[in-house]
């Protein structure tokens, strides 16, 4: 009677298939090849796993760890900020204002990704205007020292990726509808319980979509982190790019890209497993099955 909720996520999945799976197949093929001579980029007449051996270097893992930290923290921050914001927009704001707020969320996308990020670099610089203003107002004695720190990286990540989190969350919360919340309150649940037991579980497809939409591109993005984090924003995407570009070794770059995809997929699976394990006792406590009711006397009146 009601369309299955996963329909919401179909455009996201189609997008991933067309722009992720297809190029990846090419990259996987290259990864078994080698770099022929100084001026060649790749050859596939002899296939081997040697590039994977080369790719699995300590550098890769150090860089990947740094990337994972940015990816996980950034996604969590987007989630923590995005949930109340999307909830507020979907539930508390009048429909007229809602369109305006959605537009505000999307407007930054009209500006080039890079320009937006560099904008923050200018704002956060020690002699930038934010620093100057804080010092003029007496809020800081020294110039602002946030640029080229991990905090600046996370700030940039939230700024660039928050809309990707808010939009699916907004759609999901909007879809829950007021009737479900009223039914919950009517049955004795306060706002918080209504949110945790009805709104949030029903919005789960949107939450998953939001997490994937933020986490996956973020793991491959090195612009945001490099522009704002400097040396602290070293990301594995840059490592892969360096093989394609500077080293002109497409085979090794491909092997690294494939490894990256595998580790990201494993990370997502591990994350899902952790989420399941953490919520399992809760859902277990609330679960009620036909089997639980068996043996109870049937009271026919």
């Amino acid at each position: 009677m009601r369309a299955p909720r996963f329909l919401l996520a179909i455009p996201a999945w189609a997008w991933l298939a067309a722009f992720f799976v297809l190029p990846v197949a090419t990259v996987v093929y290259f990864s078994f090849g080698y770099k022929p001579g100084i001026f060649g980029t790749h050859a596939t007449d002899v296939l081997s796993l040697d590039r994977y051996r080369e790719a699995l270097s300590p550098t890769f893992f150090t860089t990947f760890t740094n990337t994972l930290r940015v990816g996980v923290l950034g996604t969590l921050l987007c989630l923590v900020i995005g949930i109340p914001m999307a909830y507020w927009m979907a539930v508390k704001v009048s429909p007229g204002k809602r369109a305006f707020l959605l537009a505000l969320v999307i407007v930054p996308f009209w500006t080039n990704f890079l320009v937006r990020t560099i904008g923050w670099q200018v704002i956060l610089a020690p002699e930038g205007w934010l620093s100057g203003m804080l010092q003029a107002l007496g809020l800081r004695e020294n110039p602002l020292a946030i640029l080229y720190t991990r905090s600046a990286v996370l700030l940039g990540v939230v700024y660039n990726y928050l809309p990707l989190m808010i939009l699916p969350l907004f759609v999901a919360f909007d879809r829950v509808g007021p009737a479900m919340r009223e039914a919950s309150k009517d049955l004795g649940a306060n706002r918080w319980r209504t949110f945790t037991r009805v709104t949030l579980p029903m919005a789960r497809p949107g939450i998953i979509a939001g997490i994937l939409l933020v986490f996956i591109p973020l793991m491959g993005d090195y612009i945001t982190a490099t522009v704002l984090g400097g040396a602290r924003g070293n990301m594995v995407g840059q490592l892969v790019a360096s093989q394609f570009q500077a080293a002109q070794n497409w085979a090794l770059g491909s092997a690294m890209a494939v490894l990256l995809i595998i580790v990201i997929a494993v990370t997502v699976l591990v994350g899902a497993a952790i989420a399941y394990v953490v919520t399992w006792p809760l859902s277990r406590a609330r679960r009620l099955r036909l089997a639980d009711l068996e043996g109870l006397p049937e009271k026919v009146r």
């Binding site: 309150k185 049955l187 209504t194 029903m202 789960r204 099955r289 109870l296 049937e298 009271k299």
Partner: protein, 389 residues
């Protein structure tokens, strides 16, 4: 207090949305254990009234007391009231048993008791076997029962039902009407039932509150509302009426075009002046014009000759439309006669329509209330005698 448990009292309750007054100084007292139906057209304020009792809306003025206690400022989750929603509003991510257990979990009921009461509530609506189903795996009627069980398992003082049968097909609706009524008498909870369907209201309500424009026009038993409507609006909204506008003469006879009516209804006082008379279709009988007794016909009181425009078979009754020429226009009269007693008449026949003088309702305020015409659209279009309009 205990004598009051389940009583609902609204005093001077007003609710506005912007400039629109949804509920206007409403007074209503519902007795404990009563099954009351709020009946009215859409926009009459019945759902808003229900939502104020549930706590989803706060009255702008007036007071609501539930079980003798004022509920001003009490949020919905703290009211001992439960609602069966129009589209059931079952939680799609929970199975039937979890849906029913939800309310009990909020009050931190011990697990063993939850299991017992969930089983009991599901048994009550014969849905225990469906405990593992998700709402999306059930029919509308099944979801309806689960919604009832989910509300009743909390043993509320008052159960609110917001058009709960609206989404069901007709047969299921009629079955559920009977079941709901039986269920209510069994559990003894106060039921406040909102509907726009007069049959539903009449068949279930101990009392029926007919609402219009945010006010209650009449609050009484089904029999009283049917037989003694307090206004032309009530008369028209409950059942059907042939409304005839006319002028009452000093001798009490009402002239409406060529039709002469004389009410012999007990207690009916007809003041001279413009009036509106109402006759229910079931009180209008028909006969072939050949049967016309001497002295009947135009000008005879409570009898009129007209052309039979259509015949419709409604099952247990036959419905006839008689067109009476009033000189410059045509008045239609609706008649319903039990099928076994159907007269031998045909479309285009000249027929005599007559009615019992004791059944004529006269309202002296011809402008009050909407002239609700006989609802001819209920005539089945499959009837060849009455082509679809």
């Amino acid at each position: 207090m205990s004598a009051q448990a389940g009583a609902v009292e609204l005093t001077g309750v007003t609710k506005r949305f912007g400039d629109a007054v949804a509920v206007d100084r409403l007074d209503l007292r519902i007795e404990p254990g009563e099954f009351i139906a709020l009946l009215g057209p859409s926009g009459c304020g019945k759902t808003t009234t229900l939502r104020m009792i549930a706590g989803f809306e706060q009255p702008d003025e007036g007071e609501i007391r539930i079980s003798g206690e004022s509920v001003a400022g009490v949020p919905p989750h703290k009211r001992h009231v439960n609602t069966v929603f129009q589209n059931y509003a079952l939680f799609p991510h929970m199975n039937v048993a979890e849906n029913v257990a939800y309310g009990l979990q909020q009050t931190r009921t011990p697990k063993a008791e939850i299991r017992e009461r969930v089983a009991e509530a599901l048994d009550m609506v014969q849905m225990r076997a469906f405990a593992d189903r998700k709402p999306s795996q059930m029919s509308g009627g099944q979801q309806q029962r689960v919604a009832l069980a989910r509300a009743l398992v909390n043993r509320p003082s008052v159960l609110l039902l917001d058009e709960p049968l609206g989404a069901l097909d007709r047969q299921l609706r009629e079955e559920m009407q009977i079941e709901l009524k039986l269920l209510q008498s069994r559990v003894g909870t106060t039921f406040v039932f909102v509907t726009h369907d007069q049959h539903e209201a009449l068949s279930m309500g101990d009392r029926i509150a007919i609402m219009r424009g945010g006010k209650i026009e009449q609050l009484d038993t089904a029999a009283a509302v049917y037989a003694q409507p307090a206004s032309a609006f009530v008369a028209g909204f409950v059942g059907q009426q042939n409304f005839l506008a006319g002028t009452a003469r000093t001798d009490g006879v009402i002239e409406s075009g060529p039709i002469r009516l004389r009410s012999e209804r007990a207690g009916q006082h007809v003041a001279p002046g413009p009036v509106r008379a109402a006759i229910r279709p079931e009180y209008v009988s028909l006969a072939p014009v050949a049967d016309l007794t001497a002295g009947a016909g135009h000008g005879t009181e409570n009898t009129v000759v007209g052309r039979l425009a259509s015949i419709a078979h409604l099952g247990e009754t036959m419905q006839y439309v008689v067109e009476v020429d009033t000189g410059h226009e045509t008045t239609s009269l609706l008649s319903r006669i039990p099928t076994p007693a159907a007269p031998n008449v045909h479309v285009d026949d000249e027929v005599v329509a007559s009615w019992t003088p004791g059944c004529i309702l006269v309202f002296s305020d011809p402008n009050a209330g909407p002239a609700i015409p006989p609802d001819l659209t209920t005539v089945p279009s499959t009837t060849p005698a009455h082509p679809p309009r």
